[in-house]
């Protein structure tokens, strides 16, 4: 599960990790939950529109609409056509699905877990919502299982609560940028995750600037570059001090002069491969 502050590059990092894992021979499905699709650009493919899109033999992606997953569950359980239609059309059902807290989160996690269980992929990379909503996603099975004890939803919630609590099954990747607010939020998120029993598996710092040389022309761009690089140095130190184990499982991705697309993902993937290869215990093996 890939999360972090809005705008830090969660989708880019999800695509990079997926590419890197697929290259190591794993079958990977990337799930996007934002209805405004952007993941397809990273792979140079058409938007998913809810369908699984195959990028190559080992890599696929899908834009996931939680309601569709819940509707699917209803179809599967009720089987009889007329009952399905009546249920799906009923106001009660619509309001329940729209408003009942935790249900959509269960649908997303349930879909990921079933994909793994049915051996449709070796790894699911979930391009999750930003920090607060990402935490709610992880917390939902536990909360729901406390309230819903019975029935298939209760059972599903319990099962998913165990799934997200198992550090070998469900791993959290925190994405940030070497800037003040994203670093602050990453540190808070890391702390909150540990408090809830999720040790973050990987810290990805995205958008690193190169150090300016001494002989750069004196203009506004260089001025901005120097100042931002100073901030970067300071914030990386801040991150290292505040993030336990940041040396062991961290990937630093450079800012690249390319828009979101396969060439960018490929270039970052090479950096990611190297970083993962250098880790004593890669977070996925």
């Amino acid at each position: 599960m890939v999360t972090g502050k809005g705008g830090v590059g969660k989708t880019t990092v999800s695509a990079v990790l997926a590419r890197s894992l697929a290259r190591r021979g794993r079958r990977v499905l990337v799930l996007e939950v934002d209805p405004r699709e952007s993941l397809h650009s990273a792979f140079g493919a058409a938007p998913s529109g809810g369908e699984i899109v195959r990028v190559d033999a080992r890599l696929s992606f899908q834009n996931l609409q939680p309601r569709t997953v819940i509707d699917e569950l209803v179809r599967e359980r009720l089987k009889v056509g007329i009952l399905v239609r009546r249920t799906l059309d009923s106001q009660i059902y619509r309001h329940f699905v729209e408003g009942a807290p935790g249900l959509k989160e269960l649908a997303i996690l349930g879909h990921a877990q079933r994909t793994l269980q049915k051996d449709r992929a070796d790894t699911v990379v979930l391009d999750a919502p930003a920090t607060g909503h990402g935490l709610s996603l992880l917390a939902a099975p536990g909360l729901v299982s406390e309230v819903i004890v019975q029935g298939p939803v209760g059972a599903l919630a319990r099962e998913l609560a165990e799934f997200v609590a198992d550090a070998r099954a469900c791993r959290v990747v925190v994405v940030t940028r070497p800037e003040e607010m994203p670093v602050e939020e990453a540190l808070e998120l890391g702390e909150e995750l540990r408090k809830r029993g999720h040790q973050p598996a990987l810290l990805a710092v995205n958008g690193l600037l190169p150090a300016p040389g001494r002989h750069e022309p004196n203009d506004r761009a260089t001025e901005l570059w120097r100042a931002r690089h100073l901030v970067q140095v300071r914030e990386l130190e801040h991150l290292e001090r505040g993030w336990p184990d940041s040396g062991a499982a961290a990937v630093r991705l450079p800012q690249v002069a390319l828009p979101l697309g396969p060439p960018l993902i490929d270039e970052l993937r090479r950096v990611c491969d190297e970083a993962l290869a250098g880790m004593a215990a890669a977070p996925w093996e």
Binding site: G7, V8, R36, L78, P101, H133, L143, V147
Partner: protein, 352 residues
């Protein structure tokens, strides 16, 4: 210092700052408030948990948590900042509309509410506008700027009041759940519900179990006396967001790949009947005057960023011409650390 407390309501401008995550909404909201205070107007900036540095820049620290704290040195108008606490706003709302202490306690102590209502779809977003209505009703300011919370999806915020009303709507859930339980909380004989009701009941029971349904029924029954007040409130919020004195400021990223998002948001605002006052293109990289000789990779990167942003800005200018005012704010090296830095940023913004 003059007091911002006035005896009668006065015309006030409301500004709602929206945009995707990470584009700098909070900083722009603070700068808009400062700009208003500098024009001699009394202004309030309401925001959710901004970074420490912005609190420092405004000089308010933790004193602004769920309170309005005066920003020292901003003037000649009075500028206040307030950090919203959605949980407390919701509790206050329940307290306001509960007919008595027992009803209030029934809701706040309900298992369903306690565990899950905090994450009820859209509650955080809704609480932001609810608080805006509270402050607007008091009429103590010439200008109120609301920074919107990070949403799962950019539009959650606009749809939140509708969604809350829809969820609480007496039609579906309350009526649906009520007949299933007797006053003692035991399940009624379901024969009176007819085949459709039995079907729905069987389905929900099968899906989530009757324990939850009982809690939910209790919650909605406890909520019943509050319902009308709450519903009126949500409708008033909707009206306020479409009132002539309310404008939206859309903060956008400069890269061409963000243009589609910005247009999508602008179109949704228009479709929902909201007034788009201005689009602020934030964090625009400078364009290089010349590349120079012996170009380093870093310089090539900044040349690319400058060109990239120039293309995005030009596209937005072309597409939004005649529809909204446009302002561009340059990429800053750091977030503003003091009022002077915030003031420089504010100078690039349109007055509100």
């Amino acid at each position: 210092m003059k007091s911002p407390v006035k005896s009668s309501p006065r015309p006030q401008a409301l500004t709602v700052v929206v945009g995707a995550g990470g584009v700098g909404k909070t900083t722009i909201a603070a700068a808009l408030g400062l700009r208003a205070a500098e024009a001699g107007r009394d202004a309030l900036v309401m925001t959710f948990d901004p970074a420490r540095r912005l609190k420092d820049a405004l000089g308010v620290g933790d004193s602004a948590n769920d309170r309005e704290a005066t920003v020292p040195g901003a003037g000649p108008g009075v500028l206040r900042a307030s950090l919203l606490d959605p949980g407390r706003t919701f509790d206050r709302l329940v307290e306001r509309y509960a007919p008595d202490a027992a009803a209030r306690d029934r809701i706040l102590g309900n298992r369903f509410y306690a565990h899950l209502a905090g994450s009820l779809a859209g509650i955080l977003e809704y609480m932001a506008v609810e608080r805006l209505l509270e402050v607007a009703d008091e009429g103590r300011y010439d200008g109120i700027v609301l920074d919107t919370p990070p949403t799962r999806q950019a539009l959650d915020f606009l749809e939140a009041p509708e969604r809350i009303v829809s969820f609480l709507d007496s039609g579906a859930l309350r009526v649906a759940l009520k007949p299933w339980f007797r006053a003692d909380g035991r399940l009624r004989a379901t024969s009176r519900l007819g085949p459709l009701g039995r079907g729905a009941e069987r389905f929900l029971d099968d899906l989530v179990g009757l324990g939850l349904l009982r809690d939910m029924a209790e919650f909605f029954q406890a909520f019943a006396p509050l319902y009308d007040g709450f519903r009126d409130r949500a409708l008033a919020v909707q009206r306020l967001l479409r009132a002539p004195q309310t404008q939206f400021v859309l903060v956008a990223g400069a890269a061409p790949e963000r243009v589609a998002d910005t247009l999508f948001f602008a179109r949704k605002l228009a479709e929902a009947g909201h007034r788009l006052g201005a689009v602020v293109i934030n964090q625009v990289h400078p364009r290089l005057e010349r590349l120079g000789s012996e170009v380093s990779p870093g310089r090539r990167l900044f040349a690319w960023l400058g060109e990239r942003d120039a293309v995005g800005v030009a596209q937005l200018k072309g597409l939004l011409a005649g529809h909204a005012r446009l302002a561009t704010v340059p990429m800053l090296a750091t977030e503003p650390t003091d009022l002077a830095a915030l003031r420089r940023l504010a100078a690039a913004l349109p007055p509100i």
